[in-house]
Symmetry: C2
Subunit: 137 residues, 2 copies
């Protein structure tokens, strides 16, 4: 019988391999957005390239979304359940702590509609809040 993570993977047309199952578990357990490096450290060893491709595959299949919080390195967090390949429900705000560097999804705060200058066509809005997180205060 398949594990829970294996079923999730298969539902997204992703083969349930050891690497992927473990990575997906990390995402499910993580209370914050995690980096490529965080995942590498959680393994005894994992090939960097494989990890890059796994993250890309997860993102394409709507399992995770990528967050650019201005720290210079990409972070990833699990999408809430109703994300799919065509549409990511990552239209919430993200919070980045300047002290510990952690980044969190702020699901409660939706990205507001921002009136754009007429000449540009806006299709997506990204908002990152910076400051000090609960832990660091």
């Amino acid at each position: 019988m398949s594990s829970k993570v294996a079923r999730i993977l298969k539902s997204r047309e992703l083969r349930a391999t050891n690497v992927r199952e473990k990575i997906l578990e990390l995402f499910i357990d993580a209370p914050k957005a995690i980096t490529h490096r965080d995942i590498e450290l959680a393994f005894d060893y994992i090939d960097r390239i494989t990890l890059y491709r796994t993250l890309k595959a997860f993102e394409e299949k709507g399992l995770i979304h990528k967050i650019e919080d201005g720290s210079g390195v990409a972070k990833y967090a699990r999408c809430i359940d109703n994300c799919d390949e065509d549409h990511h429900h990552d239209d919430h705000v993200h919070f980045h702590c300047n002290d510990c560097g952690d980044t969190f999804c702020v699901e409660e705060v939706e990205v507001p509609y921002i009136k754009s200058p007429s000449k540009h066509l806006v299709t997506k809005t990204t908002i990152v809040l910076n400051g000090t997180c609960e832990q660091c205060q």
Copy 2:
């Protein structure tokens, strides 16, 4: 007699060198945010490290502000005149075109106040609009 750019540099406690004058001119003339590479290409030759340090110095002195538009590479744009060392007036929205990759300051649109989740202390808010710019439509 000092050139205009030399005077600007000196007013920020930056020595007026050839490299800096030319770079500042590029910023003054640029209609959009420019990258490290853009500047390199504008010179016959410029040392990469010098450029990195010049950009950092300009940023610290409030001449330019750094923009992370999610494209992966840092972009820089000139601050409007009343920026200073302590406070950057870059609290406007930026627009990033997904087609040409260009990024523009949208000075007209100020970053709105976003109600933050109570547990985190928010000190800065970054907003990047994505879409198609006027040129690319």
